[in-house]
Symmetry: C2
Subunit: 235 residues, 2 copies
DNA sequence: ATCCCTTTGTGAACGTATGCACAAAGTGAG
DNA sequence: CTCACTTTGTGCATACGTTCACAAAGGGAT
């Protein structure tokens, strides 16, 4: 079973806060680019889509980096959050499974800009092995262990079919990987000390469908009325 | 700012429970395929990666569908969860932004199998418009409103660059869409009554990096020992 | 130097989620 | 029918997360 992420209280930063720090970081980066020097919790919260009390409490877990009456220094806060998240280091990421999704991930720009470097791509299909994607050669899955160790990969992204995921997971854990991002629609079982995060596209849609159905219940028809769509409750 | 999903207590099903129902559904589907007729909360919990008390409490929110001393009837539970999630209906989904990710989503098999039907694809790039992907023509973004209404799309997936996301969001809301799955790395602001779910690949990696860093703190070296190829902090 | 204004950081109240532990409810053997 | 066994459904204690509301702290004007 997927373990709870450990160390949530290593130095007292709650898991919920950690999950929001990247959000703040993104908002701050945008502000820095627009030349904003300081920002209040109110404004930053607005930009990040949370309320200001939550933002302040979150930041207070990192330390006292604000100035009362003024706000937070944008550059300084970017540095502090980056450091806390470990983004001042360079993380080598491997992507396993170069299907549509794997390809999309390999080309995704959001990684590089945040301390992540796609360092290796793997696939089992001989037709794909050898392809050049995002400046990298696709390696055969047989090379998995050797290449991971050689290139110091510490985070592995699994984008294989569900049936292959557990096996890949076991293999990378065997060579010391302890952080896995899983896109395969399956539950990975991992030993204590290994972190798995799961992204499941169909689950997100199902949650939306649940709420969408509830809206429909109170109004006219269900979702399948096509043409005569009412414009629904946006208020 | 992104609104809290409403209706979390519509009929008393907590949001945390709703988020796990798709997990149970997947585990159950696998069991049904393997011919399993009934399952205990213990076994189902194991397959879904949660503990059994939580599973039972979750299911109890839907009703009393188990039999004490026996367990749950797999087929019946599949039906009940599907109904609760609204998957017994047919949901028309549109994908906006046919880049690498949009393409991957259009081809993703996990949708169709669960009541979702990709009904339209949109892109702004004339070179992409007209392409045939997953049996669909890519439409020009100018057709967004017309096609959404014509085909009864009720859920929109945004896979555009961040800069375009808010505009697309506003436009689909204007024609009555109230459920949006956002892959663009930006905060969407929507009116009350519209549900936005966000999937952000780089945020997941950042959370992993945080925990990975914590592990490293207590052990030997940091992540970047590799072949000596780190180029230092990107922040 | 004093006063007023702004904004942070946080104590306290509230709400939600988790997990234990057990009574209630069912099965099946004898 | 009774008894022993299994497994659900849930009350309760605890942990976690959110929000309010305000004292403490700093800035700047006079």
């Amino acid at each position: 079973m997927i373990r709870r992420l450990p160390q949530s209280r290593d130095r007292g930063i709650p898991e919920a806060t950690v999950a929001r720090l990247p959000l703040y970081l993104r908002a701050l980066t945008g502000m820095a680019e627009r030349g904003v020097a300081t920002v209040s919790s109110e404004d930053l919260a607005l930009a990040a889509g949370v309320n200001s009390a939550k933002l302040r409490k979150d930041l207070s877990h990192l330390g006292s980096y604000g100035t009362r009456g003024v706000g937070y220094d944008v550059e300084y806060l970017i540095y502090q959050i980056s450091r806390e998240l470990g983004l001042t280091q360079d993380w080598a990421v491997a992507i396993v499974g170069i299907g549509n999704l794997g390809r999309a991930l390999a080309n995704y720009g959001g990684f590089v800009s945040r301390g992540f470097r796609v360092a290796a791509l793997f696939d089992a299909n001989p037709e794909v092995v050898g392809d050049h994607i995002a400046g990298l050669n696709v390696e055969h899955i047989d090379e998995l262990e050797a290449v991971i160790e050689r290139r110091g990969v510490s985070i592995v992204v699994i984008a294989t079919p569900a049936a292959a995921a557990q096996q890949i997971c076991d293999r990378v854990i065997a060579v010391g990987v302890t952080s896995i991002l899983n896109f395969a629609p399956t539950v990975l079982s991992v030993p204590e000390g290994v972190d798995v995060r799961k992204v499941d596209l169909s689950i997100e849609l199902q949650i939306l469908a649940f709420h969408e159905q509830r809206k429909g219940d109170r109004e006219s028809g269900g979702p399948v009325m096509a043409e005569g769509l009412q414009q629904g409750a946006s208020a």
